[in-house]
Symmetry: C2
Subunit: 725 residues, 2 copies
């Protein structure tokens, strides 16, 4: 009847079938155009697993987490037809010998998820496995038939056969019990109403109910969750769809939650003389009282003399000019030496240890470039680029020239030696007790270099933290985070309007980027004195601090310029500081009565006491009817309850602004009909609020911010009604 | 000075470096925990190419296009530092021997794009390549230096050296010219103002200006786009970042733009007797006049007798009941036979040829299942599943039973034979002139089967089109499209409110899904008589038709039930038709004066005449101040101008609705200050509109839709002012 079809079939019987061919081989073979004949798949499975989240570059790079986090892993999993699936997450820390298996649960559509608990530092791998859950399929059918009053005898027999097939994959004790269950299904004249053998009831009855005193029905056993969990995953490995492995890197908590304080050690002296490591030690009390946990020092190495920059970046240095610390290297040494005027390496180690005793990590700067006086210029001339006239090429971004800086040539024929030498620089400082590095302009060195260097350091020092200072285009910033930088500077300094703050922080915290880029928000740096801080007065400093400290779990300031509200630019239109510390020694009156240090200390204490502020994923903006007011919340559930923090900031530094904020109460976990307490952690004022709309009024001449702790169903003692401020 | 570092370096010198290691090997090695020592990358490149669009499953599956389309391919490409990149798209049709290279241009951020013109049926492969554009980098620096008035002599020398390096990758004639240019750069006392050697000017002067009569400056040559295009791509292959290959499948235009008409051949008779292929031929005029280009027939094979369903899906068939055409197979044959009462295979071929002569493709149904009387039940018992009692298992979805249907066992030990036999079924019908297949319930057969079958058919018949009838969960629908189905039925029938239509069509046309899933919108099918059509009257039929025909480039109706407004359900709450043609022969009065056939013909003519309606990617919804009104546009530029079609539909079938629509004039390409003509192609009314807000009023008792053609800067003869309807 089908001679033509028969002919085709015969002809194709000889087709070689490659037993390693994947499901998609048909398409692949066709794509490369090797042959118009599409071979049958050598092996294939019915389920499909795809779109596993989180993942970076298909598992080639690692998603980020910190110790103690519960990472939700999800995936699309589905199969043809109506069969139920069994899905599981398998994960393994690099130090573990075996995979931990966690059943996944189905949420909406065909999305499955499970929690990966991050317990140790280092690398985890994970993958998702889906198989047809034959037992659940049989059981669901049985339930539907029984409910419809259909005869189920033959279906019970099919169940017995299924159990006898599945049990071959179980250990012998379970096997014996399953054989008994199969017998019971076959010999059950009353069907599911029959008594269950007590031995089986004791094993599989639900935990809540227990086997109880009386007999258990056979049906109770068949539908027992424990039996389902035992039999659900039993499928031949060849019938499983797998996606992965994917990678997750677990870092210390400080990778996620940190408050950075940057200061120039040479300005730490009290008299205007060149500051020393000892001066910095004397300032540790001050830094500790403000509540910072990272003290970041610009480069501490010998500073070059050739083409040294003068004050205010002048091209000619006077004899007493101290030069830029980023012009690294002089007769005294290079990246592994300390500037003699700061003190000795021993004194630096003492500073690091003293700080560590106070819970402060000293971070140093990794600026991989050399002054013309760096010893490597002599020792390794091949590590630098040359102009046609044979001279070493200084840094330039035409028409700008940086004659005091020689960049390294990462593509030099001698690159392996250069790269290893730079890795050794990091190792050297790790040996001095440093584990946090602020990396200067990483986007001007090859990505491959960083990916190798960061992996190398982490393989020896899993606690290492690297902050990427790449004020560059978004895709480049993101890629540096993707290849291993722990934290990243951001565009925060230039995001000032409500719309800018909302859209930018949304993209940082709720896009796929948030799986690998951890923002560190800085209102100022030695290179960035924004127009807002130049002209906004005290209110601008207060609001930018609160924004940085509450929008992101990591933030930092460059002090004492920040707390002393240093605001004069080198010239109109410039973001450079006048009398920048990059080129001269400054003496700071840290005891000034107008210093913001006490306010900063309060904000940092609030961050410590409110776990909601220590993560970014719950950040949510709430509506305000005044564009000068931005309002956002963070929420975190803890063992002792839910922590809800609502921040409201007046973005107008010149005028009092007031308006209604419209809270998404459901997102905050608040019952809409009941009053709740809004406790302003900055002013200690307490307000009894109710419902979504609440009124606020913020004065830049006072404190232009609220940081509210919101609680419900608690006594509201002495709270004023309804209106804040 | 760095003894510890030296030690490290020595120790690491012995580390084996694998020359095949990829850039990401450091991470990978670390991930698998093989060693804490991270080797240097064996090879690495500076640029990065990622996020190429369109792509499906990383290139393992093909994105879809039709012949004549210009597909925009885009990618993120970037490099460390400030060097400019050269990016190019390389594509190749499977029949071509070489790659076509197209330079890409940079748009926002680091996004690059180029057009891939789809010229032939079949598979294309493409990839994206990025290299550092050393010449552009040198040239940009030169421009910056020159503008700043800096001395450029040494930079010209550097340029000469660069040219001498690059020229080694060029053919000898270009090489000679470049050597001359290098000489000119070196010997140019007046710098860029020097005269250019005429020989070079003739080659590289810009096309617009030409070498002109007078001498050309050397600077003109250096900045010539033609020189830039010659030198930009010259990088060592080892220095290139590549992403791909990705795949694109090119299908006939009908894969994208099609109007389907479904009818039961056995109801094509005029007297109520069993219709025949000859009757269908007689109805081709009717189908052609309505403007359909695909005539889809439910299964035409012999129908089983065992457990045949009666009228209205009754479980007991009367002797004269004709049974469901989806119960395929009887003594007369199976999937490659025709039902004797419809006529002979020869008569079927005549029907197909007659239709083809009128521009109509006959599509048949691929329902891969068997009635108990199918010859394969006897010939290939192993292709079916068995119950514990040895009987073949009929289809069921407990508690529902389909005793007249035996599903195939695609996992049978004998699966290769079954799969090949099913492929041979398709081949058989292709040999009869069929190239369009409506596939019944593909989601109940393994994905791997379809991926293989579709690739196999396409390898022999690149014009083949498969419509996936999978009314199932979204991820499964999407996956069937991803593995090769040409078009897909959708949830359109159940999306009735403005919000539902907008969000659903947005997701179909503007998500990543649109790269592979081509929606085919059906207001009704033999299985789906929606509540809206049951109760909405004529207005509902008109508006659902217009929505289907203008929201998507492909749509279909099941007729004559649709045009005759058949609206009675089998019972309250059911979407089954009363007296469904699935179980009995119907006789239709296609000449009824209330038939919608003339309206349908008008809508199909509008679709033919307006290319904007033949694509989905420009679909854009516009605001309306009345939720009963939905408004959307499609725009397409052609050689003769821009085609702009705006559709407005009243979704309320009981009441006149009116309101203002708020057009995004910029998206429509209309100048906001000038009037434009809104020509309603349904009523031939013409309105002079101006500005964004325009008023419409639509009556379900009349025609509850506008399909406007919008044009500007043309005479507006006899147009009424401002208000439509």
């Amino acid at each position: 009847m089908r001679p033509q079809a028969e002919l085709h079939r015969r002809a194709r019987t000889d087709t070689k079938v490659d037993s390693d061919t994947k499901v998609d081989s048909a398409v692949r073979v066709r794509m490369v155009g090797e042959s118009a004949a599409v071979p049958l798949p050598g092996k294939w499975v019915r389920p499909v697993v795809r779109s596993v989240s989180p993942q970076i570059d298909g598992g080639r790079r690692a998603t980020k987490a910190t110790v103690g986090e519960l990472v939700s892993v999800s995936a699309d999993a589905f199969v043809d037809g109506h069969d139920p699936l069994w899905c599981e997450l398998r994960h393994r820390h690099e130090s573990a010998a075996t995979w931990t298996v966690t059943p996944m649960t189905q949420s909406y559509d065909d999305r499955w998820s499970a929690v990966l608990p991050v317990e140790k530092l280092g690398l985890y791998r994970f993958w998702v496995r889906a198989t047809v859950d034959r037992f659940a399929g049989w059981r669901d059918d049985l339930a539907a038939r029984a409910e419809a009053g259909q005869e189920i005898g033959i279906h019970l027999e099919a169940g017995a056969l299924l159990l006898e097939d599945l049990m071959t994959r179980l250990r012998s004790s379970d096997r014996r019990l399953l054989a008994r269950l199969a017998d019971a299904l076959r010999g059950a004249p009353r069907g599911l109403e029959a008594d269950a053998p007590p031995e089986l009831a004791a094993e599989w009855a639900t935990e809540e109910e227990g086997p109880g005193p009386g007999p258990t029905r056979l049906g109770d056993l068949v539908f027992s969750p424990r039996l389902g969990a035992l039999l659900g995953p039993l499928a031949a490995p060849a019938a499983a769809a797998n996606a992965g492995p994917f990678a997750l890197i677990s870092e210390p908590a400080g990778a996620r939650f940190s408050a950075w304080y940057e200061m120039f050690p040479r300005s730490a002296g009290s008299t205007g003389a060149h500051g020393t490591f000892a001066d910095v030690r004397r300032r540790l009390d001050y830094v500790q009282q403000m509540g910072f946990d990272v003290l970041y020092l610009p480069p501490i190495h010998p500073i070059g003399h050739t083409a040294r920059k003068g004050r205010n970046a002048g091209t000619r240095a006077e004899p007493d000019d101290v030069g830029s610390p980023w012009a690294i290297g002089a007769a005294g040494g290079g990246h592994t030496a300390v500037h003699p005027e700061l003190g000795s390496l021993e004194e630096f180690r003492e500073l690091v240890q003293d700080a560590a005793g106070r819970g402060i990590d000293v971070a140093i700067d990794l600026a991989f470039q050399a002054s013309p006086d760096h010893p490597w210029v002599r020792e390794h001339p091949s590590w630098f680029r040359r102009a046609p006239d044979g001279t070493i090429r200084y840094a330039e971004n035409p028409p700008k020239r940086y004659e005091d800086i020689y960049p390294f040539d990462f593509e030099s024929p001698d690159w392996p030696d250069l790269w290893r030498a730079l890795l050794d620089v990091v190792r050297f400082w790790v040996a001095q007790g440093i584990r946090i590095f602020r990396v200067d302009n990483p986007h001007t060195k090859p990505f491959a270099f960083w990916e190798w260097l960061l992996a190398s350091v982490r393989s020896e020092t899993p606690t290492a933290i690297f902050l990427s200072e790449a004020f560059t285009r978004p895709r480049v910033m993101e890629h540096l985070a993707r290849i291993g930088f722990t934290q990243s500077y951001t565009y925060f300094a230039w995001r000032t309007s409500k719309w800018e703050l909302e859209s930018y922080l949304e993209s940082l915290t709720h896009s796929e980027t948030s799986n690998y880029l951890r923002p560190n928000l800085w209102p100022n740096t030695p290179d960035i004195l924004t127009g807002e801080l130049q002209r906004g007065g005290r209110g601008a400093f207060l609001s930018r601090l609160v924004l940085a400290a509450t929008l992101a779990a990591s933030y930092g300031i460059y002090g004492p310029a920040f707390e002393l509200q240093e605001h004069l630019p080198r010239q109109e239109g410039s973001e450079e500081y006048l009398r920048s510390e990059k080129y001269e020694i400054r003496s700071w009156d840290i005891d000034s009565p107008t210093s913001l240090a006490p306010f900063i200390a309060l904000v940092n204490r609030i961050r410590q006491e409110h776990v909601a502020l220590q993560f970014n994923d719950s950040l949510r903006f709430h509506g305000t009817d005044n564009d000068a007011l931005v309002a956002y919340s963070k929420v975190r559930d803890t063992a002792t309850g839910r922590d809800v923090v609502l921040t409201v900031v007046n973005l107008d530094h010149a005028h009092v602004q007031s308006g209604w904020i419209h809270l998404d109460l459901e997102a905050l976990g608040l019952v809409s009909d009941e009053p709740f307490l809004a406790h302003d952690l900055l002013s200690e004022a307490r307000y009894a609020w109710r419902g979504s709309a609440n009124f606020v009024k913020l004065d830049p001449a006072d404190v232009p911010c609220h940081i509210f702790s919101l609680t419900q169903r608690e006594p509201v003692p002495g709270a004023r009604p309804e209106v804040a401020s």
